[in-house]
Symmetry: C3
Subunit: 352 residues, 3 copies
Amino acid sequence: MTATPVALTELIAALGGDLHGGSDTRISGIAPLDEADERSISFLANPRYQAQLGTTRAACVIVAPALADAACARGAAIVTPDPYLYFARLTQWWAALTHPATQPGVHASAVVSPEARLGQGVEIGPLAVIEAGAVIGDHARIGAHCVVEREAVVGDHTRLAPRVVLGYGCRIGARGIVHSGVVIGADGFGFAPSKSGYVKIEQLGAVSIGDDVEIGANTCIDRGALSDTVIEDGVKLDNLIQIAHNCHIGAHTAMAGCVGMAGSTTVGKYCTFGGAAMINGHITIADHVNVGPSTMIPRSLTEPGTYIGYYPMSRPAEWEKSAVIVRNLSAMRDKVRALEKTIKTLTNQEEK
Amino acid sequence: MTATPVALTELIAALGGDLHGGSDTRISGIAPLDEADERSISFLANPRYQAQLGTTRAACVIVAPALADAACARGAAIVTPDPYLYFARLTQWWAALTHPATQPGVHASAVVSPEARLGQGVEIGPLAVIEAGAVIGDHARIGAHCVVEREAVVGDHTRLAPRVVLGYGCRIGARGIVHSGVVIGADGFGFAPSKSGYVKIEQLGAVSIGDDVEIGANTCIDRGALSDTVIEDGVKLDNLIQIAHNCHIGAHTAMAGCVGMAGSTTVGKYCTFGGAAMINGHITIADHVNVGPSTMIPRSLTEPGTYIGYYPMSRPAEWEKSAVIVRNLSAMRDKVRALEKTIKTLTNQEEK
Amino acid sequence: MTATPVALTELIAALGGDLHGGSDTRISGIAPLDEADERSISFLANPRYQAQLGTTRAACVIVAPALADAACARGAAIVTPDPYLYFARLTQWWAALTHPATQPGVHASAVVSPEARLGQGVEIGPLAVIEAGAVIGDHARIGAHCVVEREAVVGDHTRLAPRVVLGYGCRIGARGIVHSGVVIGADGFGFAPSKSGYVKIEQLGAVSIGDDVEIGANTCIDRGALSDTVIEDGVKLDNLIQIAHNCHIGAHTAMAGCVGMAGSTTVGKYCTFGGAAMINGHITIADHVNVGPSTMIPRSLTEPGTYIGYYPMSRPAEWEKSAVIVRNLSAMRDKVRALEKTIKTLTNQEEK
């Protein structure tokens, strides 16, 4: 909610779209159709929810041309080819309106090496640590309690939320968003077995992240063993994701929360991964692959398309019965084969 | 262990219960039956462990009335209707006795905005950051390295362990405990696809958490897209849990470690979720649902009760055979159907 | 890459091995066979990659005696019984050469209690917090933003990366490495149910970690309820792992990312766990057990060897068909049994 309501005409001036009615209407917030009140703007992106047009109290609804008449029949409307994209842009405009602006400068409590290089209009939050050789791009924002280690690079307009670690020599491009608790550049998990236990393989690579990447809270991206772990432009990672050393994620791939990716795996561009999907190490996933939630991908996928594989839940009694049979499925298959054979013999005898 | 042993009579004065024998006994610690020594108090909550009554060296055992005679036959006993609950209260009393008390005051190294509002008896730890407009309730403890962003609210007697982020505008009620590494109020994972890649949907909601909530280490609770993510009173979340935007968790629901909850899902009251259970987005789970560990819940559950679904482990050779058959189960079903048909024909012929 | 190339003879002097040729060769980096250039040293540990010997541009290749001839035929080689172990030691030597040395001393911005005890040559990073009674061993490095709570103990030569929490009374031995975001000693997840909701069981134990342990980013190890959670010597934990209260992990066991271990479980020595493996509470796993990725271990394992159990992924249409059948497998089994019976009857009739 804003203190001062905003005129729809202002909104149109900023974001485009055709306004039908509502030239005097002012709004104070954005809300889903079923929660909107008469001071809210709402949107209808999925025709499945069209019935809500008849019941919503929203002051204005963003719709596609096909629904323009239905929307206008009930009140003000903004007509645009892609209402969901329009809504996304509206949220950005709204956030810019309501969030405090960047406050360029270095907080007095931050510990910034004189050998770090800060761009123009940079904001360094309280108690952040910027080590020698680090480079912070123009208009970047480094949140409270962040640690940007030596030789690490933050691109222009990138924003690190409070408490992010960007390890030594790691790089993130422009316009990135990194949420709290993210660790970029911890050591990959590599050891050589020996008689006296595991011997650490020092991880000598770094992490290289492209432009327009968003990384969710407490997600980890490990540095490479010899070469770098690579995240290409436009990748979106949700919270609590594990990206192991030397993985390579193609541009515009999105992963939901709790996904895990073992080491040295390459994922293509424009892929999506459902929550808690797990990806084996040393494999390659093609472009445009969509993986369902809680699905384990054990081997390379060369064909685009959807893959899924989680165990269906049921009531404990059913599950227990099924689980026992699943473990012995080959016994059942053998029985069926034996039956087929017996019947074949019987049938042949019949035919004689 | 305490420096000065505590008399059982003191303990009874504080916590109630009937003391049988042991009026002169002093104890120095709490231990399980099989680890207790003659200076320990122990408890027997599960009748399955009754045999341990005969072997434990504990100075005193907390038991239910049904086991009073057996316990008294071996030494001092505290008799109480619910020994496990008594034990829980005993641990609290013990912790109060042995842990350092709150030290009201703001550590000199903390960065507290003059526009933040601190209640009575508040403790702010070293290097904590409290932004403008934040409200810290009476007797709340904010650990070292915490970040409480602008307009966030911490309820009375709530304790943030070191290094918690409470995002702008997010609220937690009274008597809460939030463990280290928790991120409350990172952006939910929302994007509109466009030809030039994903366009961010700014997350304009917050997180609203009730009273008596405990949140485990490194757990993430994202802010809502338009309205708030809501955690009701008495909810207990373990470590490394992911709660996506606009989820709603009903009162007194408990989730074990590594659970993931996709966006816009509502979970009822008094539910329990085993470790690594995964819950799909945009569904509704009834009250009193219990979900097993490693179980994926893909759809709404309207009936209370237990649900489970993880793949049974086995030796690799068996697993590989079963896995191949599982993938082609419909082929096996078709064979069985064909056999049924053939046999029916055969049987009919016999009958003729 | 180093600023100054290093002579192979120097490397041999430090690490041993037989150098064949290359007495004048200097190298600037370590690289896999297929990425190496003429200034790189590489290694061949897996005979499967032997063909790459013919195409690599590496200045020198580390090989086992069996491949000495093949390697020498193409250029300089270091011959050693275990090339992978040699490679591991080489990375350590390289890291020591290229990483900044420890800088003993306490950063001016750190908050160190006068009642903490610091060993010789200790480095305390910016904004770290060391509480009263904490003990930091000789040559230990405490990174920026770490919190070492009261009475916690860090062993000699152990390194905490930036932003680690070591809870009160918890101990880690010598030569450990703890990565950013790790939380050691948050409360275990324990509650007694009561009519008015869950009652917290205060966690009165601590965490006890042996020597030579490495712990990955954002991993959590909870303190025990009454006695300690124990991690023995040489254990290696990857990122985002959950170790619940009172677990006990045997020496030299390794767990990949996203593994979860419920409470009071004992895992033996020399075990390995694939990514996202889940281990039930209150069970015991023998020594030398290897668990596959995404596998749930519900019960104790007394036999060493490999165990696996994840649902095989497939295309959605196949998966849906299979999933329905899996849920009703006992119905199919019953049909097969009925068929067997019918056929037995038929066969008997035939025989008459």
